[in-house]
Symmetry: C2
Subunit: 114 residues, 2 copies
């Protein structure tokens, strides 16, 4: 069973590259903390596979709802609004580590960020 | 005492934005895993402050050496070379979570990635 983590970014809200990287790291670490220790360990043993995806407009909340419905570990980053964005702007969503096929059911339509 | 984590990226090796985000997430999570549980918890309670910095040419190894010398938790990401880069290319370095002043002594000259 292959595990992975998906990190989904709302690119269209106009974050700088550094800002996007920071939001991705928040989402990744927080979603990881919400996985079971078993899943954490399995994923770590296999190299912590991560994919970085782009969401559609205002899609992060919907993806979060679907991932939660499937009982996957998730974390939605809302920006504090100190720098580039309005407070509370949804910037990034981490899903997993979890079984790859379960994540693909939710994120399979999204494009990789190049 | 303020804690933070620095994630330093070698931008000049020509990674795509998505690739840089994935490497930043690897560095962040792995360096986090190497911190003590006390530091992990203190940092989490204060919102897991992260800064994303740009290294000079081939500077990641040198920064790693200095951070290790100061007994800070670190992780240097070397790319597996499956996609954009030569195998073993040093792409990103995570330092911390650790005391902000100790990290600044090592990374204070580096520029934030915008």
């Amino acid at each position: 069973m292959q595990l992975k983590q998906a990190i989904i970014i709302d690119e269209k809200i106009g974050m700088s590259t550094g800002k996007m990287m920071a939001q991705a790291c928040h989402a990744s670490l927080k979603a990881y903390e919400r996985a079971s220790e078993t899943q954490q360990n399995k994923w770590s043993l296999k190299g912590q596979k991560k994919i970085i995806l782009s969401s559609g407009d205002n899609e992060l909340q919907d993806l979060l709802t679907r991932a939660k419905h499937n009982k996957l570990p998730t974390y939605l980053v809302k920006d504090a609004g100190h720098t580039e964005l309005e407070p509370g702007t949804k910037t990034a969503l981490g899903i997993g580590p979890a079984e790859e096929s379960k994540i693909d059911k939710i994120t399979g339509e999204l494009e990789l960020i190049k």
